[in-house]
Amino acid sequence: MTNELTLKESLRLLEQKEISSYELTVSCLAAIKRIDNKINAFITINNNASEIAKFKDDHKRVGKLEGIPIAFKDNFLTKGIRTTAASRLLDDYIPEYSATVVERLLSEGAIILGKTNMDAWAHGSSTETSDYGATKNPWNTNHLPGGSSGGSAAAVVADMTIVSIGSETAGSIRQPAAWTGCVGLKPTYGRVSRYGVVAMGSSLDSPGPMTKTVEDAAIILDVLAGKDLYDSTTSGRPKDDYVSFIGKDIRGVRIGIASEYLLPDMSKDVKDLIISAAGVLEDLGAKVDYVKTMNPLYAISVYTIVQRSEVSSNLSRYDGIRYGNDRGHFGEEAKRRIMLGNFSLSEGYAEKYYKNALRVRSLFIKDFERVFKSYDLVIGPTSPGPALKLGASRNQPMFGEMEDILIEPSTISGLPGISLPCGFVDGLPIGLDIFGPQFSEGKIIQVAHAYEQATDWHTMKPVLRTNS
């Protein structure tokens, strides 16, 4: 089945005309039809996808991604295709323009396969707060896929797409990648444009690829990265040739295991997998030892305050006048975040909460500057444990913040990172997080790829019981 192909393999077979884009696209659509009633990874399917694929087959191959079906998280604006951010407030919203990320992929010949499920407004780490029902983990449908890009992750892992696009504010790419066992790459803040992405935390939001392999992530990042005149926070720094880091040996690369990230109450199985991953990197020639970092517990607080403050400002635009439904359509989670954000920015409390959080944010940035004087990259678990059961996020007002404790320090500092599978606990995947200083995506890809090739975790696929 061609839907099981990686991006790299798909491109090679398309190039050699051994498969057609139509075949590839229809194969993904068939997989969606067959299994998505069990997973609920998609909110909207692009009804024109197979038609577009056929058109591409009849024309000369031009772009780097010609004929590749891609699933987009439903917070990326897609011209003419409904974009809901998984909220009923935007239930009937049809964008008149596309996000820069979408434009860039389309201009390289990609096809929009559909729009994936997520926590409403990307508020969460479970995909359970979606107004369109929870997404299920393909490894065990009684478990959560993580979030907020849970639909994108599940779609990749269950081979319903060749590639997915997700977005991360703190953990929303890497944590669902870890819980479902795919690769999730969160670029440096400002490396990939936020234009046309439904805004959540504007000083944090970073779009990125969710893929079957590290090389696939490098190929996609190569298309996404770069300055965008429509997003003034994108960096003018030239992008690296990310694919050129694939296959480079990692001898001498200095890697720190974040000892503070092996939390006291974390399961020993998870810790052992990380330590064993460190061993693999050491065998490959990297210099690995433990590094002390600032306590990640403080990052939960910084992130909670900064993110809710930015959410309250970003969601104030939804008035139901120009587009979408009225504010009565906000779900519980959005209301909670809007109000706490308005509180932390309000007269009398802004100094105590918002501004103080920004000062501690400075301390995290400084702490990482110190760490990266002696280390090229840092590793740790992406998440404290494997995927939790459905319902775990209910009545937990800080569920996401607690689950993403190990990602928040790097994300509030704007750093890039990748999560890739490094083993299983109770039959569910565990993710290894590799992160580095700003704009170190190349080195991250280099080390992640070396690890991936030295292990076979990425070849393991969930077995879905289907009726077919």
Binding site: D92, Y93, I94, E96, Y97, Y189, G190, S203, L229, Y230, S232, T233, S235, L297, Y298, I300, S301, V302, T304, I305, S312, S316, G320, I321, R322, Y323, G324, N325, R327, G328, F330, E332, K335, R336, I338, M339, L340, N342, F343, S346, Y353, K355, N356, A357, L358, R359, V360, R361, S362, L363, I365, P397, M398, I412, S413, G414, Q438
Partner: protein
């Protein structure tokens, strides 16, 4: 001495109003409790010494980003496109609620 709770039902209702959110009494009670719980967690920042530390308003170091003062045709929506998602329009305009009365 026991700490006074920051959020009371009245205070939550005020924040809700400022946020343009209509909440039921049940929701107000529910959120009041949750907000106080959240504050008790994030108050751990008090333990961090931040005296003399500058706020990180910007994490990329970019400053004064300008663009050319030129119209970008690609980025312009026609009136029809701009109105295409509005629930209520009138002769090419958005219709908003009355400001001086609630009708």
């Amino acid at each position: 001495m026991k700490n006074k709770k920051t959020f009371t039902e009245d205070f939550t209702a005020k924040i809700a109003k400022l946020s343009k959110l209509d909440l039921s009494e049940k929701e107000i009670n529910f959120f009041t409790k949750q907000f106080n719980d959240t504050l008790s967690i994030i108050d751990n920042l008090k333990k961090v010494k931040t005296k003399g530390i500058k706020e990180a308003f910007n994490i990329t170091g970019l400053k004064n980003v300008f663009r050319e003062d030129k119209i970008d045709q690609k980025r312009i929506l026609t009136q029809e496109e701009a109105l295409s998602n509005a629930k209520r329009t009138h002769k090419g305009y958005f219709v908003v609620k009355g400001i001086f009365d609630d009708k």
